[in-house]
């Protein structure tokens, strides 16, 4: 897509950030309201796809130089690591822990180990989606 699509490109610049912000919001809100790692990951991926549609894959690769396969691997390890961390506390595999903390700026916040697991899911979803789209899109 080499056409100089000014409208799309200009809109994308703004929209991408809105989507990314929304994705992050969705990710953190997931435990109490609709959302979570899976949807958050998909949204992030869709933001990057939008960039790819507006510009081209090579440009986007330069802007976001991630190795998505590596990202998938890190996500999987993170998820597995969170699940197996329970071993060190001598509780069954996959036992999550959570508690409420009083953090500056945030006030009373609940911190949950499930969020780490969810972060793993998030990374895998972004990684795999982008891997697939990039490989198919790049193929000539």
């Amino acid at each position: 897509m080499k056409t100089n699509d000014v409208m799309l490109q200009t809109a994308t610049k703004v929209v991408t950030f809105i989507i990314l912000m929304f994705a992050i919001h969705i990710f953190f809100a997931g435990h109490y309201t609709p959302g979570g790692g899976f949807v958050g990951g998909l949204l992030t991926a869709s933001a990057i796809v939008l960039l790819m549609l507006a510009y081209d894959i090579e440009t986007v690769k330069k802007i976001i130089p991630f190795n998505y396969v590596m990202m998938t691997a890190i996500g999987l390890l993170l998820a597995l690591g969170t699940a197996s961390a329970s071993i060190f506390f001598n509780v069954p595999f996959f036992t999550h822990a959570y508690d409420y903390f009083d953090l500056p700026l945030w006030g009373e916040t609940s911190l949950h180990s499930a969020a780490l697991f969810d972060l793993g899911v998030y990374l895998v979803v972004v990684g795999v989606t982008m891997t697939i789209i990039q490989t198919i899109g790049e193929d000539e």
Binding site: H31, G75, N90, V91, F94, H112, A114, V125, V128, I136
Partner: protein, 804 residues
């Protein structure tokens, strides 16, 4: 915790190996790896005083408590003996491998990762008290052995051998799992200790013989007993340190361990005694006979291992007889248990050193073909000495450790022949005869191995390399083992008191209460009795046969290669490969529409027939919500979109129509207040439409032929069937009010248990986290699959080859 943790220490250390290999290339990775078995060995050695007093150590780690699964490390005399062997020989093998494997040419990180993985698996087997965790470690040895045998994976023979060993041992492992399950049903526990304590009640259970046979299949396949031994010679494709470690000192002994461990449970049965002793003895005879036929040094040793394992197996079988004798102390069968363990130690020591010597010969001359070797005595004097010590111990010659256990073996076999239970007095006469013939051939192949390699005429023109003595570092490990061979001969009772007697206590727990009561004193001279004359006969006949070997070795050519167990295995795998290929060629058409037809066809068949046959269909519309105007509009859009896809003339139209269908479904989710689903569906639709557009250029045009494909009755029937089935299922499940809705449970517990508010997300990450973990794993695999499919396409030439 600590003992269980130690089992996992090697595999945890393995995580560091690739790092060490990449970052610190100057130092051979083996030096770092050596620390692990060495530390473990020293630690286990400090536990010896506990088992010497008949004490045990137990430590437990919960795995999945809700299923009663846990790792229980149980250390008694038997497990400690094996743990010492695994870590002790392991250290020597790692030390040897440092000099054997070139750090610049070999993929050391793979090698040591597999080796450490194997170490954990072996320690797990011998220390597990829980049968399921034992099975887990058991299969882990099969897998790590597969990886190690196939270490040089570019060689065809390596891959063949690796696959063969895995097929056979995993088959046995699965049988064994069946046996374990039966045992657990009988005794209502997975703990081996508890089963041993209930042994008298288990005998009369209807599953008893089944469990016995299944568990023995596991033990026989792993310990390469007849007729499953065929994988062991092919496993010699592995690097020599691996052969020394896995295929002589440890892994193949897992089967022996299993038999020893379960002897207290099954010993009451005559079937057990006949099977274990009979198969063991026959294997001993068979292996020793065919060892002489081999041309490859490692193949000779492989067959000798098969034979020696058979010997120990038969002794374990004989030890079970001790349970049938009233006056236990007065019988000879306690000798059998003692001899079994004693020979096990001896075998690990001398066979380890022999394998290492074979590796040295291979390394320094470039060949293992015994026909090309000869006359190396003066060139490699140290290797020759080590080989001689090991072989003489194997042959059962005095001044070497093997002699002592060989004598005890003959004693035990003679005693069996005189035993008058289970009609042993009739057929039992075969036992000493087979044992004697086996021992004669053992004597011959031991001499064949050492003298045809090191004596005779040197043939430098046949050797690929200029032969010379191995570097000192490579000789250290076999030298330590060879020294042990001699030391054991002179202090057998010390070895007996420290490690053998505590292990005997574990095999025959009903006969003694502490290791001190095993009143056996090993002595090199035991009087001019029958076994003494049998030994003299072995030496005389063995020497005669060895001397005249060139004259009668033609006899082996009588056995045609076409009629052998190996050929049977090859034919079987060949036929099943071909059959499977032909079968799958019929239904794997390569068209996705065929696969969809299968899937939907089976779905309709199974679900619909279940609904009809069990009369499960109910219709209750009282609680249905009224269909509003929005619902009707969305349905119209859905139907419109679907119909458009069917009749679309261009791909672009169908992609857009498909998107419309997806978005309409998302709208439904919104309408029925499922925001999570709606959100996910919307994003997925967006991305997949974008993906379609990306791939759009590469898709072929909708061809004319497809346009005119027209109406197909079969497809229409399936489409209609799926629609009807799903509608019926949906209506039926909606009308079903027998069970309370599961969502109530989540609503109540989601905050108190998991501290969350969104049920869907909490289920995903917490209640059913396992599902999610596997789902993302599948996702990851799918990603990799797509990369391989698109990026790593076969070249034209390979493609043609593939299609042939």
């Amino acid at each position: 915790m600590s003992l269980v943790f130690l089992i996992f220490l090697p595999i945890l250390a393995a995580c560091l190996v690739p790092l060490l290999f990449k970052k610190i290339g100057r130092i051979h990775t083996g030096w770092f790896v050596l620390i692990v078995p060495l530390v473990l060995f020293v630690y286990y050695a400090t536990l010896l005083p506990i088992t010497m007093d008949g004490g045990t150590r137990v430590s437990e780690f919960q795995w999945i408590p809700s299923l009663g699964l846990s790792f229980v490390a149980y250390l008694d005399g038997l497990s400690l003996l094996f743990s010492l062997l695994i870590t002790g020989i392991g250290s020597l093998v790692v030390l040897y491998s440092v000099f054997y494997l070139d750090k610049n040419r070999e993929q050391l990180h793979n090698f040591y990762v597999y080796l450490l993985m194997f170490m954990t698996a072996m320690l797990g087997i011998v220390q597990s008290d829980h049968m399921i965790s034992l099975y887990l470690f058991w299969e882990l040895t099969s897998i790590s052995s597969f990886l190690l045998i196939g270490y040089w994976y570019t060689r065809d023979r390596s891959r063949f051998g690796a696959l063969k060993s895995m097929m056979i041992t995993v088959f046995g492992g699965l049988m064994m799992l069946g046996g374990f399950v039966l045992l657990s049903i009988m005794g209502n526990t997975y703990s081996i200790r508890e089963l041993v304590s209930q042994a008298p009640e288990l005998v009369n259970h209807e599953f008893f013989t089944w469990a016995l046979v299944l568990i023995l299949l596991g033990a026989f396949t792993k310990s390469a007993q007849f007729p499953f031994y065929i994988w062991l010679p092919d496993a010699m494709e592995a690097p020599t340190p691996v052969s020394a470690y896995l295929h002589s000192a440890t892994m193949v002994k897992a089967g022996l361990y299993l038999v020893a461990r379960f002897t207290p449970i099954f010993a009451a049965s005559g079937t057990w005694i006949w099977l274990v002793t009979g198969v063991g003895l026959f294997t001993m005879f068979w292996g020793s006979f065919f060892a002489l036929k081999q041309k490859d040094l490692k193949a000779i040793l492989a067959f000798s291992t098969v034979s020696q394992l058979g010997l120990i197996m038969s002794l374990l079988g004989a030890s079970a007889l001790g349970f049938h004798v009233e006056d236990a102390a007065g019988t000879v069968f306690k000798y059998a248990a003692f001899a079994a363990i004693f020979h096990l130690v001896n075998h690990a020591v001398f066979k380890g050193s022999l394998f290492m010597v074979a590796g040295i010969v291979d390394h320094e001359t470039g060949t293992r073909d015994i026909r090309k070797l000869g006359g190396l005595m003066s060139i490699m004097p140290i290797s020759f000495t080590l080989a001689m010590i090991g072989s003489f111990s194997m042959a059962g010659i005095p001044l070497f450790g093997g002699f002592l256990s060989k004598e005890m073996f003959l004693t035990a076999m003679l005693a069996i022949a005189e035993f008058n239970l289970f009609s042993m007095d009739v057929w039992g006469v075969l036992f000493p005869v087979l044992a004697w013939i086996g021992s004669v051939f053992t004597f011959v192949y031991s001499f064949y191995f050492v003298f045809h390699t090191f004596a005779g005429k040197h043939k430098p023109e046949e050797l690929p390399k200029h032969a010379h003595e191995a570097p000192i570092g490579m000789l250290v490990s076999p030298a330590i083992l060879a020294a042990l061979v001699i030391i054991i001969f002179f202090i057998p009772n010390l070895v007996g008191d420290w490690i053998v007697k505590p292990a005997v206590l574990a095999i025959q727990p009903f006969m003694y209460s502490s290791p001190d009561e095993v009143d056996i004193h090993v002595s090199a001279w035991h009087g001019a009795n029958t076994e003494f004359f049998m030994t003299l006969g072995i030496f005389a006949v063995g020497a005669l046969l060895f001397w005249s070997f060139r004259k009668w070795k033609r006899a082996y050519e009588v056995f045609p290669d076409t009629v052998s167990l190996n050929r049977l295995y090859d034919t079987f795998t060949y036929l099943s490969d071909g059959g499977a290929n032909r079968f799958s060629a019929v239904y794997m058409t390569g068209f996705i529409r065929s696969y969809l037809v299968y899937m939907f066809g089976f779905l309709v068949l199974i679900v619909l027939s279940t609904l009809v046959l069990t009369e499960a269909f109910v219709l209750d519309l009282t609680n249905s919500a009224p269909v509003g105007i929005y619902g009707i509009v969305i349905i119209a859009a859905l139907v419109g979109g679907t119909t458009t896809i069917l009749f679309a003339k261009s791909r672009l139209t169908s992609i857009i129509a498909l998107g419309a269908v997806g978005y309409s479904v998302a709208l439904f989710f919104v309408m029925f207040r499922a925001p999570d689903l709606a959100l996910t569906q919307l994003v997925i639709e967006t991305i997949s439409v974008a993906l379609f557009l990306l791939a759009f250029y590469h898709l072929p045009k909708v061809s004319k032929k497809e346009e005119r494909m027209g109406f197909k009755l079969g497809n229409a029937a399936i489409a209609l069937g799926v629609g009807v089935t799903m509608t019926l299922v949906a209506l039926a499940s909606h009308s079903q009010k027998v069970l309370p809705s599961i969502s109530e449970y989540y609503k109540e517990t989601v905050y108190s248990e998991a501290g969350g508010g969104n049920i869907v997300n909490v289920i995903l990450v917490d209640y059913r986290g396992f599902d999610t973990l596997f789902e993302i794993t599948v996702l990851g695999i799918a990603g990799i699959a797509i990369i391989t499919m698109i990026k790593l396409r076969l070249s034209k030439k390979e493609e043609q080859h593939e299609n042939k």
